[in-house]
């Protein structure tokens, strides 16, 4: 467990040193800040648009981080040949995979936390000094704590993407891994549609196959609750628990697969 922690912390340090990461976070914060300007053009919908843009920025930039850093974690070690030094130590291969994932999970959490603070800061600035009438007219309060639910689900979704990227990177090149991860991400958003295949085709076999694929692919659409949160609609604790639970289980499956693939990989 200690070894795993060390690998995770080293992975985190390595990601933090990456300048691309800083540019992504700075760009996301700038975009969140710019939403203030955009809000001026919206006939009273400024806060809604700031929340939408803020949560979308967190999701989009988080996705870039998850994919591009996720696929390079293992490949960098192989390219630099530092993997030989690492494996020569009393470290088991699955610990490397889990540690790397832990490091990137920590990096993502910190970056998403920074972007969330920036979003709340912009919202606080805009809503500061707002009169009672304007406050009552809003569907949801400016500094609605329920937005954190959306952020937490985005984080879990990005951790699934990270685990997917890590899994592909254990046996493939970085470019191919990035392509496969993005493809899985897109397919994951529409996997729910595969369950309704019976409305499109008559073939029973095709329907069963589509249903099986829909359960194999990650189901990412339920992690997007931006619309509910922005409109002040409830996102229940039960929904959060089942969705996060599903995410954790799916990440577990991917990490087992990644560890298995990595432990069988020949580095000669």
């Amino acid at each position: 467990m200690r070894t795993l922690g060390w690998i995770a912390i080293n992975g985190f340090r390595e990601s933090v040193r990456d300048k691309v990461m800083y540019s992504l976070v700075v760009f996301a914060i700038l975009l969140i800040g710019a939403s203030y300007m955009l809000g001026q053009l919206t006939a009273g919908q400024d806060l809604k648009i700031m929340k939408d843009l803020g949560l979308s920025s967190i999701s989009i930039f988080g996705l870039f981080m998850a994919v591009f850093i996720g696929v390079s974690l293992v490949s960098k070690e192989v390219e630099r040949r530092s993997i030989y030094g690492l494996l020569a130590k009393p470290v088991r291969r699955h610990e490397v995979v889990l540690g790397k994932f832990g490091g990137l999970a920590l990096t993502l959490t910190v970056n998403i936390a920074v972007m969330t603070v920036a979003l709340y800061a912009v919202l606080a600035y805009v809503s500061w000094g707002e009169n009672e009438f304007a406050r009552q007219a809003r569907e949801a309060p400016a500094l609605d704590p329920a937005m954190l639910k959306a952020v937490v689900l985005i984080l879990v979704q990005l951790l699934i993407v990270t685990a997917t990227a890590l899994f592909f990177s254990t046996f493939s090149t970085p470019i191919l891994s990035a392509g496969l991860t993005v493809g899985t991400f897109i397919a994951g958003y529409f996997s729910q549609d595969l369950r309704n295949f019976d409305q499109v085709v008559n073939s029973k076999a095709a329907q069963v196959l589509a249903r099986v694929i829909s359960y194999v692919l990650p189901n990412l659409a339920p992690f997007d609750v931006t619309s509910q949160v922005v409109h002040g609609l409830p996102v229940t604790a039960g929904y959060m628990a089942t969705t996060i639970g599903y995410g954790v289980v799916y990440i577990g499956i991917l990490l087992v697969l990644a560890a298995t693939a990595f432990s069988r990989r020949d580095f000669k």
């Binding site: 053009l41 919206t42 648009i49 529409f190």
Partner: protein
């Protein structure tokens, strides 16, 4: 690089300034000689399913962008229509007018397809789609369709029934359907008490100016955006303008009868000391006295044209 090899900062600044001026000059020259083709107004109109696929997970954000586009489109169209004085064109010419509101409904439809809970888009559409030219496209049916779509997404929104009733009342002059809509809204739990009395007033006094004033006042009170509040304020000012015109017209007619000669200018009224000066409408633009002794709103007034009152319409 040695100090001698460096480009002096003054030279660099001068070069940037000269090149910058040249770049601006060339653009001005090109634009003057080859004016850019006017932007063709268009919108991407897709099915709900296709739109969802294209915008992927960020439907709410895409709805926001379309919303900004919708209000900018509406604002610029309305401004141009008023500035060009297109309100004087006959209705047949309006459809061929270069300034039309054709895209307003598709844009609002896309916004509400992407985000079915975009409350303001339904209410904005409810008011402005039914507004007659040059304040809107004059499409009450589209306004009702949009509000019905909103009710399908959020059946508990009594405000949409209020707006539907409003469109029936003000634009279609169908007071029975208007009262029906107000009653449907009043049936929704949480609806305000006055919605029921509004239905009663509409049935009893449909077309009455007091009832119209009551409606616009309620809309102004319940509007959650500046656009709707401004529209309601303008309608109330128009009702005031009509009342003022009627009062001044009485004074003009009385003086004309007394003198036995028609009143042709405001000076006649001022010198007869029946009026202290040229009367102003609620937007502070002078009224006009047209031959033969008819008091009218100035075409330069932002309140022009005055609404065709429901009572006048039903009497015909």
């Amino acid at each position: 690089m040695t100090a001698q090899g460096r480009v002096p900062i003054v030279y660099a600044a001068a070069a940037v300034l000269v090149l910058g001026a040249m770049s601006v000059g060339l653009q001005l020259l090109r634009d003057a000689k080859y004016p850019a083709a006017p932007n063709e107004e268009e919108t991407l109109y897709l099915t709900q399913r296709a739109t969802s696929r294209i915008v992927f997970t960020h439907r709410s954000l895409a709805a926001d962008l379309y919303w900004i586009r919708a209000i900018q489109y509406f604002g610029s169209r309305a401004q141009h229509a008023r500035a060009a004085g297109l309100s004087t064109l006959p209705p047949a010419a309006l459809s061929d007018s270069p300034i039309s509101f054709d895209l307003l409904y598709p844009l609002l439809d896309i916004v509400t397809t992407l985000d079915p809970r975009f409350n303001i888009a339904y209410r904005f559409g409810g008011i402005f789609l039914s507004e007659p030219y040059p304040h809107g496209p004059g499409r009450p049916d589209d306004a009702i369709a949009l509000l019905q779509k909103g009710l399908a997404a959020s059946p508990s929104k009594w405000e949409y029934w209020e707006d539907i009733g409003f469109v029936y009342y003000w634009s279609k002059h169908d007071f029975i359907k208007a009262a029906e809509a107000f009653n449907r809204g009043a049936d929704i739990p949480g609806a305000p008490w006055w919605l029921r009395s509004l239905a009663g007033t509409t049935l009893a006094k449909g077309g009455d100016r007091t009832a119209s004033r009551l409606l616009w006042n309620q809309l102004r009170e319940t509007a959650n955006n500046e656009y709707a509040r401004n529209a309601a304020t303008m309608k109330l000012q128009q009702l005031d303008a009509i009342e003022i015109i009627e009062r001044i017209q009485k004074v003009v007619d009385t003086l004309g009868e007394r003198r036995g000669v028609p009143v042709t200018s405001w000076n006649d009224l001022i010198s007869a000391r029946v009026m202290p000066g040229v009367p102003l409408d609620p937007a502070n633009v002078p009224y006009e006295l047209q031959s033969p002794s008819r008091v009218t709103l100035s075409r330069n007034s932002p309140l022009f044209p005055l609404p065709f009152e429901p009572a006048a319409r039903t009497d015909q």
